[in-house]
Symmetry: C2
Subunit: 304 residues, 2 copies
DNA sequence: TTTCCTTACGCCTATCGTAAGCATA
DNA sequence: TATGCTTACGATAGGCGTAAGGAAA
């Protein structure tokens, strides 16, 4: 097969239609250029340039081959640049998983930040529950996770990216909706709509722990996995709920959110997790970018 | 810049993920393969394969570069094949000019023949009058012409591809339309619709020569360039005309064509003309094909 | 110990540049 | 004669294969 050097020689000759000038542009003397063209023609088995008269002309085959050669050279340069970019983390592909609620509070600003600083990184976003994300992270199916703590996996680094208060959610028609604040004791005897223990262990433990600590006992508990579904139930009067502040982004008209008295020391964290040794340079770029621009809302912590 | 050989090595390694096997497939020993990969990585300035563990893995940059490399190699092979085809005349581009009337009699079968035997030749067809074609041929703007004789250009070879009778064209409502044959003497005193001397010199000279030889004098002459327009005028009763047999393909309902008595020794030729030294191998292929399959209707003649 | 990739070394081919050759205006 | 591409020739650089080296299972 021919050589890229030969292609470069031929393309230049096709542009100049003069061996001497082409050789000068290629920083070589004419003889090696002549030999390269001859070798190319012998390799392909066809005349590419007609040297008949004093001027050099391209044959039909040569004209076509010049275009194709130019394309090959362009693609070679593209491949070179693109690969360097991927290796440096300035380009590439990255998959980020996130919890449903973080699509209201954190993901939009993350996407905007990425588009601004790394427009060449192709971003794939996959909504998953925290347990699903832990499995995907362990099998390295995602580069970065946005999930609820704790992350008890080896060789995984985590950074808190969001810390929020808890709010009380009550139906708009409920008497409590008129209060500016709602004490957790007011939940006593009401129906509590909250997260189930398996699919949402973090919120489940947090909310039930809060009620136990306050000695408050709902009359009944309705488990629902996703926050927007919980607020939907609250809106139609099923019961009351305790949700993170970012739920404001998905609260329907029939549900109102109020500051929750009696949960001052408790907060909800969103954590960014990724493998310590990442094989994807783009992932490292994104991590650094997030910690620089969005990391002020939490501090870095190391997992086991 | 890297080498196509290096790309081939890398693509094979990316497929095998094993230096030994890749080297075997490439018909070389491992050491040169290792050096090629190292040189490639050094050239690009990035690690392409992770040799950490016992197994070889591609990095993100390497995976991308492998795809791009494969594409470059594929295009190189494509360029090779395509250029050989063009040089051999099995592929390429060709421009053929033709007179309007030949699009009814000859061009369709020519196109069908080309599509069947040379599907890789891109055919551009341009309808032009014979004088326009002579100019285009002289300036080598077309590869092959289908026109009316004579072709008085140097270094042009011609082949007759079609020879036809002349027919009389009369309005369907005209008394002569009832005859099975029409003698040229019947034109005497009628209006003759025929070709003008400048745009259609061949037909003009032929028709007027025919009338003079027969001592027939029309009452008036209406010049129109194209045969289909002449027949349109005949159809609405403007006058009578003498046209080639292939005009049957474009005769409107109001015009009928009849054998012409008194023009037995006269015939209309369609000629294929092309440069003797063609720079386009596809042109030579087409010429040979036409002379083999469609040339039986005429015999080869040499022009000055 | 085996497997697998890398480094070392000698041989050879290929490319380069300079210089001479040869055809054309 | 001048221009422009090709052939000849000696020097150098780079590739190949064999053989030795070193890390991991």
């Amino acid at each position: 097969m021919f050589t890229l050097v030969q292609l470069r020689c031929f393309v230049t000759l096709a542009e100049e239609l003069n061996f001497r000038r082409a050789a000068r542009r290629l920083n070589m003397s004419q003889p090696p250029l002549s030999r390269h063209i001859q070798a190319l023609e012998h390799e392909i088995g066809a005349e590419l340039v007609a040297r008949n008269r004093r001027s050099v002309e391209l044959t039909a085959a040569g004209a076509s081959f010049a275009r194709l050669s130019q394309r090959i050279l362009d693609q070679a340069i593209d491949a070179y640049r693109q690969t360097r970019q991927i290796a440096s983390g300035d380009a590439g592909e990255i998959t980020i998983s996130f919890t449903a609620l973080s699509s209201y509070a954190f993901v939009p600003s993350l996407v905007a930040l990425l588009r601004k600083h790394y427009p060449s990184i192709a971003l794939t976003l996959r909504e998953m529950t925290t347990p699903q994300q832990l499995a995907a992270l362990a099998s390295r199916q995602v580069d970065i996770c946005l999930l609820r703590p704790p992350v008890a996996l080896p060789n995984i680094r985590t950074t808190r990216v969001l810390r929020e208060r808890l709010l009380a959610a009550v139906p708009a028609k409920h008497p409590l909706a008129k209060r500016r604040q709602i004490n957790i004791r007011e939940f006593d005897g009401s129906v509590l709509v909250t997260y189930p223990p398996v699919e949402g262990p973090y919120f489940h433990g947090m909310v039930t722990g809060l009620f136990q600590a306050a000695g408050v006992y709902p009359s009944a508990i309705q488990y629902i996995t996703q926050t927007h579904a919980i607020l939907g139930c609250v809106a139609v009067g099923v019961g009351l709920a305790v949700v993170p502040e970012s739920a404001k982004g998905c609260a329907p008209a029939g549900a109102v959110l109020r500051p929750l008295i009696g949960a001052e020391g408790v907060h909800v964290d969103l954590v960014m997790a990724s493998p310590v040794e990442t094989t994807n340079p783009a992932s490292a770029s994104v991590l650094a970018l997030v910690e620089k621009h969005l990391g002020s809302r939490g501090r870095a912590t190391a997992a086991a």
